[in-house]
Amino acid sequence: MKKIEAIIKPFKLDDVKEALNAMGIKGMTLSEVKGYGRQKGHKEIYRGAEYVVDFIPKVKLELIVEAEQVEAVVECIRQAALTGKIGDGKIFVLPVEDVIRVRTGEKGKDAI
């Protein structure tokens, strides 16, 4: 099993969620994060002075999937999250050693 972490633009969340559902991915966890990278931050004005806020709101998706699904899921997220503009985000793939479902105690694949 692998853990996929995807950092995407917030307004793309619904599309990504739908795309994942379409391919049968029914579980994920997400959190609001701030991103820093190539994408330039936005200007803010405060009483006639200008400031640049360079941490940009992003959404982080975390999903555990079976090894063989990784390719497909990554591509699915990429397609759905794509705008082609700087700041579209990144997808990371990490190894997972075990997964346990709290409710049943099931482990591994069955727990996903």
Binding site: E44, I45, Y46, R47, G48, A49, E50, Y51, V53
Partner: protein
Amino acid sequence: MNNTGDTAFILASAGLVLLMTPGLALFYGGMVRSKNVLGTFMQSLIMISVISIEWVLLGYTMSFGPDIQGLIGDLSWLGLHAVGSAPSQTYATTIPQNAFMIYQCMFAIITPALITGAFAERVRFAPFVIFALLWSILVYNPVCHWIWGSGGWLAARGVLDFAGGLVVHLTSGAAALAAVLVIGPRRGFGKQSFMPHNLPMTVIGTGLLWFGWFGFNGGSALAANGIAATAFVSTHLAGMAGMAVWSLVEWLHRGKPTTLGAASGAVAGLATVTPAAGFVGPMSAIAIGIIAGLLCYTAVSLKSRIGLDDSLDVVGIHGVGGVIGTICLGVFACKDINPAGADGLLFGNPVFFGGQIFGVIVVGAYAFVVSWLLLKIINAVMGLRVSAEDEVTGLDLSEHSETAYS
């Protein structure tokens, strides 16, 4: 004899001015970081207790009691002795004197609260309370007597201040400048940017302030008459003009009109017209609002240059507003509008104009010097600032053991 309409009007106005203090707390609180919002609130709210008690015991008689040499009221009304619900012979003769007393109390409360914006996010609660109490006794009460007390020497010299350009805004603005110099900037000032944590809160505060200002300026007619209506109209028009101009200037200067800019311009206009409200016509009020928007915006922009951390721009808005408002009154005042007032420069009366400038210099200098000394002494005795660590933690936890949001 008490007039029911006048009494209803002044009591309503007193309520409105009281509401301005929580309004100010919100206006300021929205602009600080979330770790300091409660500390910022408390500095305004506690004034209601500290100054009210001072006022009924001492402040009212110092300010409005029988005059001594034009300088101060004597102590014959100490602890509200002989101040009942019969009208005063001297002030607001158509309403209960205790109504007049409590209406004036609300002004005394909000004035030191205004100062707190200058040293937001870094001052300890205890020394602040002591400063505010002494400041009210040594600065507010005397200046109030000079201008509004019967026999006050500045009033005698013809200086006019309808609702507090000198008494409220200039005294607090000058004290704010002293505080900025004595207390110094916040940690990280210049390096970090301190963005407002909750602008909607600031907007709520602005709405309550505007609403309350009708009582602040309108009520200063001390009767529900034509002058009250004139003051009400001037207040609204200067506020709206200040808001329009600040937004516009920011739009041209920075490319966007901001919500905080609109709110700041409104407060600038409202503060600036305060001394003039009941003495000028509507077009003059609009002119005053426009001038306020232009000059306060400029002042606030310059501030950052000279590296003073007047955190929420008390000097730039209330100080500058009090000065230009008082001077504008010297220009735009018109006896056709208010026979009890004066004619200004525009109406061919340079003497009155000069007197207003004199008033600005005297009150500004007095308030600045006394405030500066007070702050220096208190700082030496007990230290005004929170520790570096507490400043990082924020006032809410370090001074009040609370968290605003959870």
